[in-house]
């Protein structure tokens, strides 16, 4: 959005140097890489992490298009660094309250019936920067703990079937949970309600067509579509059916939402509907008056996106944006709103509604309900300020 009008640059048209000389041969990169002109499109950290193995990096959403995130740009969140796992030595144990506990090699898992699904993944800490008001940060740092991929693997229910199913619970016993554990140096663990996720969760070995990347769980990862990203346990080595949550560190010390009365919400798994305008967004600049598409992303952990409205006057008037088909379950959905910039200041907002009828709330409503210290699950309407000079800011 920032180059000079074309007319100044190249008229009459020249034959450029890259037409006059042969380019690079095939297999210059047997595994390809982006153009050097795209070197600014990389993951970034929001701050200097004191311990960079227990840290996160974010997806450059403002530079992405469509609905998928290339594997090289999928956000990172690690608690003990990225292990370099030999897939031939990796094992998945499925045990606990099951009929026949088993150990699976990667080859075993590849022999089980698989499926592929496109789903977003969002850290529940995403956009926590905005709880106390506009942070001034650009989109990558406010909303970049968000990615969307095609995941391929084995349904959790299939795996359970391969171990003969859960053992029958005593009448009146509490519903089963399942503990997922990673093989990383944090041996990451989360407890999940088994019945709620059995048909939806996948144990995946591939992402966007190829095997998982190391920083995204190679060789094996759990995904729980719609749930907070921390439950997508990476480097998965163990699934244990249990009779209640294990109250692990990640589900007590972290990933709980402190309320003003000092109590905290626990097991708040699902990601509520949310949306954000990706173009124009902070750091970009409008260069001429006239038509601009206002483009963004919307998603919900509870189903599909039913609609997105956009306001260009700070929330006084709202109009429907176009949603790009297909609108997928628990996946990023692109919206576009046709806008004519007259050259004055403007405040751009987007508001998503999902298939359950839930409407993305304002920051004020979230703060009224949860106070200022609940950190996780911030999904407030985001506003970008367009200046009369075409600059865009998170202000």
């Amino acid at each position: 959005m920032a180059s000079a009008p074309s007319a100044q640059l190249l008229e009459p048209l020249d034959v450029p140097p890259w037409t006059r000389t042969p380019g690079a041969p095939i297999l210059t990169h047997p595994y390809g890489l982006p153009s050097s002109f795209e070197s600014h499109v990389v993951r970034r950290a929001a701050r200097q992490w004191p311990m960079p193995g227990a840290a996160s990096s974010l997806t450059p959403l403002a530079d992405l298009h469509g609905t998928l995130t290339p594997n090289g740009l999928v956000y990172e969140r690690h608690h003990g660094g990225v292990p370099d796992i030999d897939p031939d030595a990796h094992r998945l144990a499925v045990h606990g309250l099951v009929t026949e506990p088993k150990l699976f090699t990667m080859d075993d898992l590849l022999r089980l019936p698989s499926e592929s699904r496109i789903h977003f993944m969002e850290c529940s800490g995403n956009t926590a920067s905005e709880w106390k008001g506009p942070s001034g940060l650009p989109l990558q740092l406010t909303h970049g703990l968000l990615s969307c991929c095609e995941w391929t693997g084995v349904r959790l229910s299939t795996l359970l079937e391969a171990v003969g199913g859960s053992t029958p619970a005593a009448p009146g016993a509490s519903p089963r949970w399942i503990l997922a554990e990673g093989a990383d140096a944090a041996a990451m663990t989360r407890s999940l309600p088994l019945d709620a996720i059995l048909d939806r969760a996948l144990v995946v070995y591939a992402q966007n067509g190829e095997r998982l990347r190391p920083e995204n769980g190679y060789p094996l990862r759990l995904i729980v579509p719609g749930y907070e990203g921390n439950t997508y346990v990476k480097w998965l080595r163990r699934l244990k059916v249990v009779d209640g949550p294990l109250e692990t560190r990640e589900e007590t010390s972290k990933y709980t939402g402190l309320l003003p009365d000092g109590r905290a919400r626990q097991f708040a798994f699902e990601m509520d509907a949310k949306s954000v305008i990706t173009r124009p967004s902070p750091g970009q600049r409008l260069t001429r008056h006239g038509y601009y598409p206002v483009v963004g992303l919307a998603w919900s952990g509870r189903g599909t996106i039913r609609g997105v409205e956009v306001s260009t006057d700070g929330g006084i008037n709202w109009q429907s944006a176009r949603l790009e088909a297909p609108v997928r379950d628990r996946a990023l959905t692109r919206f576009t709103f046709d806008w004519t910039w007259q050259g004055g200041p403007a405040t751009l907002l987007s508001r998503a509604t999902d298939s359950t009828g839930y409407v993305q709330p304002t920051r004020e409503a979230l703060v009224a309900a949860r106070g200022l210290n609940s950190y996780y699950h911030y999904n407030g309407i985001q506003s970008w300020r367009v200046g009369a000079d075409g600059s865009v800011a998170n202000a």
């Binding site: 391969a162 294990l246 109250e247 007590t252 109590r263 626990q266 708040a268 359950t356």
Partner: protein
């Protein structure tokens, strides 16, 4: 032309043969989770004094000499702050179960050498952290029984997710 068979998953009964049966002894080294009622706690024990030595040696560099936090989280303090505008969530002020402390230290700490502590060391350093938070007395010695019996100050501080239906 062939019949159309589009389904997401159909289960061949033959998958029952995939994977290797696993007995409890084979998985012992991985089966380290601990339930909030103490199930899974190993034999062994440790006292506050021993814990102080372990902590000074293996934890203080990252968490501070008194557990006050450095490049690792603060582990001590924050009592009474949860309702304030600057809440401080620590093991002492926030964590609902002592079993979580044992489990997490055993699986993930010290950060630079996870799963390197003996069960006795984990009991001891847990005892020291709880003692610094005023939860167990100076002469406490923790084992599977006594650690499971510790009642954490914020034990009743958690409520279920009220969503959907309310913000």
């Amino acid at each position: 032309t062939p019949a159309v068979t589009t389904q997401t998953v159909a289960m061949p009964s033959t998958i029952a043969g995939i994977g290797t049966p696993l007995d409890a002894s084979a998985i012992a080294a991985w089966d380290i989770d601990i339930a909030p009622d103490g199930r899974g706690l190993p034999p062994g024990s440790g006292d506050v004094q021993t814990g102080a030595r372990v902590f000074a040696q293996k934890c203080a560099a990252c968490h501070g000499a008194q557990g006050e936090g450095l490049i690792g989280d603060p582990l001590v303090g924050g009592s009474g702050t949860l309702r304030s505008t600057a809440p401080k969530r620590t093991v002492g002020s926030y964590w609902p179960y002592a079993t979580t402390l044992f489990d997490y230290i055993r699986r993930a700490m010290p950060y630079n050498a996870p799963q390197s502590l003996s069960a006795d060391e984990v009991y001891a350093v847990s005892a020291w952290i709880l003692n610094r938070n005023g939860i167990v007395p100076d002469d406490a010695r923790l084992d599977a029984h006594s650690l499971a019996a510790v009642r954490m100050p914020n034990r009743d501080g958690f409520v279920p997710d009220p969503r959907p239906g309310t913000l």
